[in-house]
Symmetry: C2
Subunit: 456 residues, 2 copies
């Protein structure tokens, strides 16, 4: 409960619009992209580390739960203040403090939007590879907290591979400067990277130092359709054997292709059961070479269609993929989405078993995702106003998770655990390991006030 003394304290520390208390003002801070919702007791919007230090000192003394968030694009309820407490919105701490083309690092506050950073970097011919689908509106702080993935992971890895340094404030107001700005650094335990994917449970991050690469000079893309799922998987295998590592290798199966075709003109003929969409990057000349090579690989696998593009010509190919979400609503009004991930070689089996689950329960399954990482987006389409159908969809979600674990996979490749996957986490991670995670958390947050009840 927030007492009037608490409210007075927060109003003084965060004057004016820096703190919010009315239901209208707090409304949007109670939910995230999971659509779960619970009203927080208050919302604060810090503008400086000093305010956060004081807030954390107070919160520890008062045992006040804190729920830190960026743009709340989180789909697993990770940003929902479901236990009651104070939401800490980091959106006012959105300065790009430094971009160093000499050191190949960027130093940012956590509220910086991924896409805004990308734009600034591009001007300087620099590159921060992690590109979650939400990049245009999600924050770097949120990306780090949830361990965001994205399409470029095949070649470049994920968020955790690009976090060099973390400044964070811990309960009690302890400021920790972890890691640094060197691309190689093995001094001390690697606590900076422990923050990646920690879901706001260890501290409030106030500054992030990111590793940058030179911006590749050129890119190219290829789209290939196949008459069977197995033909597509064979072609994907051949790509990994051909000596050219793609930046991204996306995958769309059966029903997804039909749905996109329903939105307008699609390049694949009827009967196409699976499509691969690849991007490559490098210098102008090497991209041209690699493109020829990949075209040759695909031609050997009987594609139903094969399109390539360079530079501006790539956009129409990727536009097709972006149609998945709007097109999905032609199939059913509601969906349960998951980002399960299986070992790369198990993708074919996973797709077939997920499709079979849909048939068993008479539900349409949209299957697409980051084939290169085994990261599948499974959309279980249904009409939630039909209680029987909703129940079947929910059962199917559990079956999808169960099959994923059976195949040696993980419940989450890039979305995190948050609230919605927590009930299933024990299927994947043993009690001893989870107890160890909670013990580690205690070193950071002894009273358990940071995003309690989430993640592990």
């Amino acid at each position: 409960m927030l007492t009037s003394r608490h409210e007075k304290y927060l109003r003084e520390l965060f004057p004016g619009e820096g703190s919010l208390f009315t239901p209208e003002e707090k409304l949007i801070f109670g939910t995230d992209a999971s659509r779960l919702s619970r009203q927080p007791w208050a919302v604060v919007r810090p503008e400086s580390r000093e305010q956060i230090v004081e807030l954390l000192r107070w919160a520890e003394a008062e045992k006040m739960p804190l729920f830190t968030r960026g743009r709340a694009t989180n789909v697993v309820g990770g940003a929902v203040p479901d236990k009651g407490g104070v939401v800490v919105s980091m959106l006012r701490m959105n300065r790009i403090k430094e971009i160093s083309a000499e050191d190949f690092v960027a130093v940012v506050e956590p509220g910086v939007i991924n896409g805004d950073l990308q734009k600034e970097l591009k001007k300087r011919r620099l590159f921060y590879p992690p590109d979650p689908a939400s990049a245009a509106f999600s924050t770097i702080g949120g990306n780090v907290a949830m361990g965001a993935g994205g399409m470029r992971a095949v070649k470049y890895g994920v968020t955790r591979d690009y976090v060099l340094g973390v400044e964070a404030v811990l309960p009690g107001g302890r400021v920790m400067r972890l890691g640094g700005r060197c691309h190689k650094n093995v001094a001390g335990l690697d606590l900076a990277r422990l923050f990646v994917g920690s879901e706001g449970s260890l501290g409030v991050m106030t500054e992030l130092t990111l590793k940058l690469l030179p911006l590749p000079e050129a890119t190219a893309s290829l789209l290939a359709g196949f008459g069977t799922l197995d033909a597509a998987l064979d072609a994907a295998r051949a790509v990994f054997g051909c000596g050219t590592l793609p930046t991204a290798m996306e995958f769309m199966a059966g029903l997804v292709l039909e749905a996109i075709a329903g939105e307008g003109e699609a390049p694949w003929p009827q009967g196409t059961q699976a499509a691969l969409l690849l991007r490559i990057d490098g210098s102008e000349s090497t991209v041209a070479e690699d493109l020829r090579r990949l075209e040759a690989v695909f031609k050997r696998h009987d594609p139903t269609c094969l399109l390539t593009g360079r530079g501006q010509e790539e956009e129409p190919l990727w536009e097709l993929r972006r149609l998945i979400n709007p097109a999905s609503f032609r199939i059913a009004p509601d969906k349960i989405s998951d980002d399960v991930t299986v070992p790369r070689g198990k993708v074919g089996e996973a797709v077939k078993r997920f499709q079979a689950l849909g048939r068993e329960r008479n539900l349409k399954m949209l299957l697409f995702g980051h084939l290169g990482d085994g990261n599948l987006h499974v959309n279980i389409m249904h009409d939630a106003s039909n209680p029987d159908e909703l129940a079947r969809a929910r059962q199917t979600k559990e079956d999808v998770l169960r099959v994923t674990i059976e195949l040696g996979g993980t419940l989450s490749g890039e979305h995190g655990v948050g609230l919605t996957k927590l009930p299933y986490l024990h299927w994947q991670i043993g009690e001893a390991e989870r107890a160890l995670m909670r013990d580690v958390k205690k070193a950071f947050d002894p009273s358990g006030i940071l995003n309690p009840g989430k993640g592990y």
Copy 2:
């Protein structure tokens, strides 16, 4: 102290040559490549996880210090049992349990030699990028424990970027299975990667799951000499701006070139003050393209020599770099080596300041290293039989570390902290951060029996 009861217990758990107690047998297990030495009370050589579980149960009950090691190529004393206790040699657990070309993972026991794994992978056209200089004889377990780096880090990152899963036994005999075999995985706190660089302080690792890439089809190398340090640094900067990211970018300065020339024929003319040695990889055709591009870049920077090679022709270029160590002993009989790392843009300033430190104290400094990561190997040459010179060398080492910190660098880019860097760690990492590291350790090792007094 090891009682006769302890000895009896260990002999039963590790029968025959599985446990060693005589000074002769224990001798080599008391030291590592740091040349520091202390005799352990006993050495055990487990062959199974079950033995390790029982050992850790016993060690926790008896509060017996354990010092886990692989091939002890560690140069910072990380493997030295300096407090007395039992050395756990992992060399008998050296099975490659699985190489999956479908999942792009290898599952290995920690005693597997990095180079042996590389050879097996090459047969299957797979690739594990981390390549510490010790790769031919150091173990994967040691590489992970110390967070090994290597030359390919410019393009591919370091050991921590390739560890997907860790099985480890904790004090008390608790078996933890952390991470997994998916390339993307954000379920729970990322404790698997916390083991990378933990210097044997968190648990005894019994199995590692590593991320693999397709083996690049082709490589090529370039060696360029320059008349000044600044010209070499300008050329390096131009490489990072040219659209081709090299796999490795090595650097050798002044005296190193003279010393190598003293070993035989060197390709650089007199007056060459710095040299860059690069490797690139990709498909046959893209490597040819990239090689042409890099040659053009270097030609614009007035090289004193420029050599290129592809495939077998590359070896003579890299042979020159391998001569650094033997050649160094032409300069002085002893050296103090360090692997300090600075932000990439600070390499020039660091080299100049290190060279000045040598001049001030009348000592020869060999400077070379992984320019692409800012990771410099500084060898302070001296004659240790001359007490005054030894004292000056030791003072210079401290100055090198101090300058590194001033430049925003880290005391260790890839060797670790161990014993030898621990006295200086507070120059880089604050007391609050180190206390947090020790608190995190307590969650794994509450009694502090694992490699006590090392690392942080």
